[in-house]
């Protein structure tokens, strides 16, 4: 009897796309089979080197001669390969560097936010200093301090000056003819930079997402955001979720150090890119704010994470960290500062605090529910001056993972689905031919299938519906037939995909229900429901209500706010009052642990049907 042909799974990161191919298929062919746009200028001859990828995990065929000539020793050492030459021998995970991708992913950068009054922690003061003379031998620093004495609004007496700033001081004073701009971090009463008179003063706000980094360059003189840039979080190569990264960091100081340095390096690149766009360089950055979930926060600050991976999942510190950027390995202005806002719990981080700040969720009167949907969904409920928060394990389904044809929101991803006249109409990211489904698309697909009677209230597919066919021996509903997809294969969703959505929405609804229960109120009493994050912005509220992910309230009560964590980080750069409020909010929040909550499982089960 002939052995069944061996199938190999090829996972492409950072897209999160998977291909199932026969042994002997090259990585390039595998990528094309699932619509992953991998550059290949020479058409797979192994001569151009443009399809360079990294083998993160798994075994592939030995190096070809073409690869030996195209790749450097360093590239070979870090397992770089040419996708057109190498073929997986077993299940593999492949990382595609940005330059090898033909199209870039959509990154969520915008966030609608409240206006705040400009009052940054680091403020700048123009100072004219008397030059030294034979009858005036005061040291440069004494001279600078004396110059600062007469300044209105400085409010700090004789600020400290660190060694790094001291080293820059004499050449700067002399080059600028003794008229300079002195940037002072007012909370610490410290000079962070001495810059040429009239030069801009910049702040950097970064949302350290598990998947993506979003950076904002802010002019601290005007409070305006002057640049935005995004990048994938390079830590993805150590695992897609925070727990894998915690496990990696637990292996030792070299491993945790690498995780820290990777993010610091990516932040430095983003800062350089953003400063370059306005013809300056990162030495103009005098203050930074970093927000992220608690694990990202700890890894970035170089704090131990082991205790975050084990019950009761406690943080090292929940107070804000007011540091020097140099402590984080960042080379900006000589004494540049870095602020990491307070956090609520091990799984409700500073990014959630920043989101609450940006949306004003916990400040307005009335009852507000605010959700940030991701692999972990953080939810807060503000009612009657009180604030409750929880985190619920919703899984990666809404990010396109664990879904048969799932992918992230990259070009060709189905992001909207509508059922009409017996068929599905789809809309894709960048209007490219469909190659997969992203979170908002799978949400729509399930909601529309439910409306069309293709799935029942338990989530079972109706075998009698003409769009339901067999797919690898299991029932599947065809969303886009092969003839109209970018890779000439059907795009489907299966009962298993519906099940993933049920588990995700069950977890989110159970979390919501327990917060409402803690506050002693009913969903109907919610004045506003704020949905943040990339998925939260693109999801169709009606679909989310139809499948029971969000409470059934009139649409005008919902507000979708984009990357509110990034917007909150920008506020923290330009307002000392917002920093004070962040501490107040985080201190006021009552954290509800769901995993041990006696009623969680009942709510979860109850919320799983449609």
């Amino acid at each position: 009897m002939a052995a069944a042909p061996q199938r190999i799974s090829v996972e492409f990161q950072p897209l999160g796309r998977r291909a199932d191919v026969a042994a002997g298929t090259t990585i390039l062919a595998a990528a094309r089979s699932v619509g992953v746009g991998l550059a290949s200028a020479c058409g797979g001859q192994g001569t151009c080197g443009s399809c360079r990828v990294r083998v993160a995990e798994g075994e592939v065929t030995p190096l070809s001669d073409a690869e030996r000539s195209r790749l450097t020793a360093a590239e070979i050492a870090r397992r770089d390969r040419l996708a057109c030459q190498a073929a997986p021998r077993a299940d593999v995970r492949i990382e595609i560097p940005p330059e090898s991708l033909t199209t870039t992913q959509r990154l969520q950068l915008e966030g609608r936010a409240l206006e705040v009054e400009l009052d940054p922690a680091v403020a700048a003061f123009e100072v004219s200093i008397t030059p030294p003379a034979l009858d005036d031998l005061r040291a440069d620093v004494t001279r600078l301090r004396d110059g600062l004495e007469g300044i209105d609004g400085l409010a700090v007496k004789r600020p400290r000056i660190g060694l790094a700033v001291l080293a820059e001081l004499p050449p700067c004073l002399r080059a600028e003819d003794w008229s300079v701009r002195v940037a002072i971090h007012r909370p610490a009463s410290e000079v962070v930079a001495v810059r040429p008179s009239g030069s801009p003063l910049l702040g950097l706000a970064v949302d350290l997402g598990t998947t993506k980094l979003a950076a904002y360059l802010v002019d601290l003189d005007t409070g305006r955001t002057v640049g935005r840039a995004g990048a994938m979080n390079p830590q993805i190569s150590y695992g897609e979720d925070v727990l894998r990264r915690i496990a990696h960091a637990n292996a030792g100081p070299a491993e945790s150090g690498a995780l820290r340095e990777d993010v610091a390096g990516a932040v430095a690149l983003l800062a350089g890119e953003l400063c370059g766009e306005i013809d300056t360089d990162p030495s103009a950055i005098v203050d930074c704010v970093f927000v992220g979930n608690t694990a990202m926060h700890h890894l970035f600050a170089g704090l131990p994470v082991r205790q975050l991976g084990e019950a009761p999942y406690v943080a090292v510190v929940s107070d804000p960290l007011d540091l020097r950027a140099a402590d984080l390995g960042l080379t900006f202005a000589a004494g540049a500062r870095a602020y990491l806002p307070p956090l609520i719990a091990g799984y409700v981080g500073a990014d959630h605090v920043a989101m609450l700040l940006a949306t004003g969720a916990a400040e307005r009167t009335g009852t507000v529910l605010a959700l940030d949907v991701g692999t972990n969904t953080e939810i807060s409920l503000a009612h009657d001056g009180r604030l409750w928060s929880c985190s619920t394990a919703s899984g990666p389904a809404f990010e396109g993972a664990h879904i048969t044809d799932g992918m992230r929101a990259a070009p060709g991803a189905i992001e909207r689905v509508h059922y009409r006249d017996g068929g599905f109409l789809v809309q894709t990211v960048a209007d490219r031919p469909a190659v997969g489904i992203c979170g908002s698309g799978i949400l729509d697909a399930v909601a529309e299938a439910l409306r069309a009677g293709i799935i029942d209230t338990r989530g079972t597919l109706s075998h009698s519906h003409p769009l339901v066919t067999g797919h690898n021996g299991r029932a599947a509903c065809v969303l886009v037939p092969a003839a109209r997809t970018g890779h000439r294969r059907d795009i489907v969703f299966t009962r298993s995909d519906v099940s993933e959505i049920q588990l995700a929405k069950g977890a989110i609804r159970a979390g919501t229900a327990l917060l409402l229960e803690a506050a002693g109120i009913d969903a109907a009493q919610l004045d506003e429901i704020i949905v943040a994050g990339a998925f939260g912005t693109y999801l169709d509220v009606r679909s989310a209500i139809r499948i029971g992910l969000l409470p059934d309230l009139s649409e005008d009560r919902f507000r979708q706010v984009g990357n509110a964590a990034g917007a909150g980080a920008c506020q923290l750069l330009i307002s000392r009052e917002r920093r004070r409020l962040a501490v107040e909010l985080a201190g006021r929040a009552q954290y509800l642990e769901l995993t041990t909550h006696p009623a969680f499982e009942q709510h979860f089960i109850a919320a799983m049907g449609f």
Binding site: D241, A247, G309, A311, R458, A475, T596, E601
Partner: protein
């Protein structure tokens, strides 16, 4: 339609209130406890397992069905205790130290219960010593669960603690949970791994069979 059939349908359909009502009716009609267990609950849960394996139902339905079964079983429990009905075996099950996630573990426990096993549910965040104690209390199978990459490593400690207590031969150890693989189970010296609750039932039956066979051989050589 007879009471037993309606009881089975209520469980398969995940209707907890109906399952409870049918179980009460069965007791009122003097259907023997063993029959309610074997032909009611166990047949229903076997059917649920089958539908799951066939891809007809998924974890959400299996959870709902298991809860309906548990609700019906609670109605029957006093009679089971009163009549001293024998179980298929005693399984102590828990989520390992450092991990508070127990929905998956609870599902496995319910599926095992629905197959006639007696369950000693140790809960979540269970320390190795507690698993060891459960063996002393009569458990023949230890089931361990972990959802987190960071806590799965604590399974090894349990296997070692059982070995150190000199109880390894008396018990079969099975493991499961999202990050667990057969390779990992082999590496830590567990007797088996199952990827879902339905396979877990068959695995427990299998390892318990092996354990008893070994015991039998042990007895003849003495």
């Amino acid at each position: 339609m007879g009471t037993l059939e309606q009881l089975r349908d209520a469980i398969v359909e995940g209707q907890a209130a109906d399952a409870v009502a049918e179980m009460k009716r069965g007791l009122d009609e003097d259907i023997p406890v063993q029959t309610l267990l074997d032909d009611g609950l166990m047949v229903a849960m076997h059917r649920v397992g089958q539908l799951f394996e066939e891809g007809e139902i998924y974890v959400p339905e299996m959870l709902v069905s298991s809860h309906a079964m548990t609700a019906a079983l609670e109605v029957l429990r006093p009679s089971i205790v009163e009549q001293g009905v024998r179980s298929s075996g005693r399984v102590a099950i828990g989520t390992v130290k450092g991990d508070l996630h127990d929905i998956g573990k609870n599902l496995v426990a319910m599926m095992l219960q629905g197959s006639g096993f007696e369950i000693d549910d140790l809960g979540a965040d269970v320390y190795p010593e507690r698993f060891v104690q459960a063996i002393r209390d009569g458990a023949e199978v230890i089931g361990m669960s972990a959802l987190l990459t960071t806590t799965m490593t604590n399974m090894r400690e349990v296997v070692e603690a059982i070995g150190d207590a000199g109880l390894r031969d008396r018990v079969a150890i099975v493991v499961g949970g999202a990050p667990i693989t057969q390779v990992y189970a082999d590496e830590i010296g567990a007797d088996g791994y199952a990827r879902d609750a339905s396979k877990a039932v068959r695995l427990v039956q299998e390892v318990l069979g092996r354990l008893k066979a070994t015991d039998g051989r042990g007895a003849t050589t003495h």
